[in-house]
Subunit: 203 residues, 2 copies
DNA sequence: TGTAATTTTGACCACTTGGTTAAACCTGTT
DNA sequence: AACAGGTTTAACCAAGTGGTCAAAATTACA
């Protein structure tokens, strides 16, 4: 049964996602989202009540798409070095496909930190499993002594930061050459895991 | 000669810096800045014409305080490993004193990327000097083969990201314990340089 | 086909915000 | 004391904002 509204709600949602992710909550206008969806502004309120509600819907959906794969990777039962290579490769790959996500997150983090933590935990990331694996490897003498927290933050930093700071880094050390920076990011899929493993492997 | 305005302009500037750095341009209100400075809103326009001009004044000042020390460190003529230790320690220290700066920058980066690159170059950061030093060490066989760009972005990532993502990381892996996270950041002053040098040192 | 229910629209509202202005207020000078 | 300069203020304005509403258009259904 095709209802009268042939995907109106979905069109609003997609338009909102585009605009919100690109500009963040405070720089996005309801009017702009309506235009992007090709309809009247009042419809956004008809379907989603308020800007805040619409934003929450978008934000939850983005989290739901981004977090579970990470959770799954962290808990996968494969050797540590393999796992690091796997996570870095997949994570950077997904950031290459969605390069605005880090800034979108960082902005929302400031606005509402606790909510994000709760969503992340809801979708199942339990860093303790990964921590345990790291500690086991340390005890087994396979990697150097390092705080698991330091290691995982290092991994995150190395993956995410180049996307958040792209405009400046690209301007400073890549003569603003977009292709060069894309290539740079592509190579990081291997470089970052090499860098990490090099650092923690026991000689 | 003490004029009638006993530092009014400076008080505006300080108030604006506080508010802008904490909330970013778009979430800051002129009224709020006026309140913080304890004066009438019209005075902000009397001294700085517009919100944008006031923001530029603040932004330039912050850049002027943050960039030159980095430029100086990058060009200092000391051995590479020492330099890495020096930069990481000083940089993280300065971020501990000004933890909102990374988010402030990342937000402004999106708004006006090219302007930032120009300011940075104006204040004298020339990464080429550092790149040359890295390439020399590679040729001399002291460190492994690595793209200088990858290395410097790794260094930046490891220093800056934990401040930008603090609320989430603190919530996820430090049970939202502020003191634990402060301690974590403090330890990174040594951990990050160890991590980097471990990775690039030739065995 | 006629009617009720739902969806869509344009006009509108209340409020916020950056910015302006004319008048009041110093403060130093004569 | 009176004047002249810059400084400070309260009141105001225009534009933009999220949100509302009644009427129009469309769809579902008897």
């Amino acid at each position: 049964m095709i209802k009268g509204n042939q995907g109106t709600e979905e069109r609003i949602f997609e338009a909102a996602k585009n605009v919100f992710v690109k500009k963040g909550l405070n720089n996005s206008r309801m009017q702009e989202i309506a235009q992007e969806a090709g309809m009247n502004k009042a419809l956004l309120h008809y379907y989603y009540r308020s800007k805040e509600k619409l934003f929450q819907a978008v934000f939850n959906s983005v989290m739901k798409r981004v977090i579970p794969p990470i959770a799954e990777m962290l808990e996968k039962e494969i050797p540590l070095f393999e796992k690091i290579e796997f996570i870095v490769d997949r994570y950077i790959n997904s950031l290459i496909s969605n390069p605005q996500i880090p800034v979108f997150f960082i902005q929302e983090i400031q606005r509402n930190p606790q909510q994000i933590v709760e969503i992340i935990k809801k979708y199942g990331i339990k860093p303790e499993v990964f921590f345990q694996q790291i500690e086991n490897e340390i005890k087994a003498g396979n990697i150097i002594d390092i705080q698991p927290q330091q290691l995982i933050v290092n991994l995150l930093s190395l993956c995410v930061f180049p996307f958040a700071a792209r405009p400046v880094v690209q301007g400073m050390i890549f003569e603003n050459d977009k292709k060069k920076y894309d290539q740079f990011l592509f190579e990081r899929k291997k470089e970052v895991s090499k860098f990490i493993i090099n650092s923690i492997r026991k000689k």
